[in-house]
Subunit: 308 residues, 2 copies
Amino acid sequence: MHALTTQADGGTRVRPTAVPEPEPRHDQAVVEVRAVSVNRGDLSLLGMLPPGSRLGFDVTGTVVRAAADGSGPPAGTRVAGVADRDGWSERVALSTARLAPLPDGVGWTDAAAVPVAGLTALYALRQAGSVLGRAVLVTGASGGVGRIAVQLARAAGAEVHAWAGSPERLKGLTGLGAAGTSTYEAGPGATPPVHVLVDSVGGEVLRSAYQLVRQRGVVVCYGNTTRSDLSLPFDWGNARPGVRIRYLHLFDEMPRRTVGDDLALLLRLVAEKALDPQVALVGEWSDPEPVLRSVGDRQVNGKAVLVR
Amino acid sequence: MHALTTQADGGTRVRPTAVPEPEPRHDQAVVEVRAVSVNRGDLSLLGMLPPGSRLGFDVTGTVVRAAADGSGPPAGTRVAGVADRDGWSERVALSTARLAPLPDGVGWTDAAAVPVAGLTALYALRQAGSVLGRAVLVTGASGGVGRIAVQLARAAGAEVHAWAGSPERLKGLTGLGAAGTSTYEAGPGATPPVHVLVDSVGGEVLRSAYQLVRQRGVVVCYGNTTRSDLSLPFDWGNARPGVRIRYLHLFDEMPRRTVGDDLALLLRLVAEKALDPQVALVGEWSDPEPVLRSVGDRQVNGKAVLVR
């Protein structure tokens, strides 16, 4: 079978290459892959891994061999799951604890977009506890995780405020449930105080957004796209007693979570039309380079998917 | 009766003044005060309150009237507790939920030093969960809270590292249970990685200490004596997935805690000689100015107490 692997030549970064069939552990199902998504984390890894390396976390497809230990769904079931960085493949072994069946009506491209972005947004919000009736500010709201975080916070009863880098990027966010949208340039003046801040931008954007965080507020960072120092004003704590700041890394968080159940929850929301994974770009698995380039250049306002 | 109140003239900042007897709520006991402590927080308030204002949180003395609702100890019981900023008085009404009886053998000066500093240190450490066998770094370790935090962390089974501003200030900390001591100047090189950082200094000291914080580490700040911006390196989160930063303000935290029980716990540790409140300066309630001045000038390596 074939998998996309990193290449030695600089021009094409990944290419279908012959690899061995997956050898599942007793708690893994083998899945015939139908679609995968391209996350920015995949691109970061791509730049660090030696030639011939496998890639890919977000996978959807059909179970062709159930797990030997009897866990998980039988052969023939459509599933989505989180792979062990080997998901950009024709077939892959997925832990049954990290996959969930697709509800009827959820297609391959939407399903492929859900696992990493959806779980990151879900676990970010879970840090905050109940957000019912509370104000939540999402920065980087035009990105794949941001667009899902806006929808999940709204579905949880929050008043959601969405920040992004430009008026163009803010398009569509009101339709996803944001009560207010604002560019970074506008600063904190146009947004009310918030109980929860979900940030992936860091630097000046985080410092600006932090001014809105209330007493006992919760700040969840899941990225730092500007690669800036964390810089907050001297009264960051004393003016907000009990404030909490947490850095969430999905692969650090997953071992403590019921990933399969949480993925099932997200897919159910997709089936119920309460969550749109916001697939903004679809390409061919056999020719991934155009999609990779668009994601790397931040040209995708949402998720990017490769289909087989 | 008399209480220490703020004065209009700049020279003497507080002075015994005639005030009304306390009028207890149904859940308050009236206590004849024997000793109070002077916290830096008292001095901050002193500078902000209008003339004639009452002060004081840390109180110890004897119950002269039990609470009307039957809660708390009977008249004649020696207690320590947290007052509502009116503790620097001959008599004061204390909520029974915020006081605890003194065990035999615990004297007035030690007891007066425990409530605010001890509860702050205890609640700071509780943010970290179990520290058994884990490394804990305490900055500002020579201060009143710092010296208690070092002892509580050690009593909880931690390997404790203590940082302070000079070799003189580090004196005695090894005897309190610190496995290692270091000046701020020495930087992070002399201290191993830690799971928990308890900081009250902020600025460059916090940035330096933060370099030692491990994955899923916990940073608890309860002050920012340098009044500096929070500044951490760009990989503050990504290099430590799951890291948590929390600002603890005692008066924000207390409503969520069983303060009376926690105070009883601290006083029992004092009775058992497992905790020394480190009273470093004792003055007369009737002439508080010398003690206030020493606390304000950071001349006290530990706690300062006024006795009646």
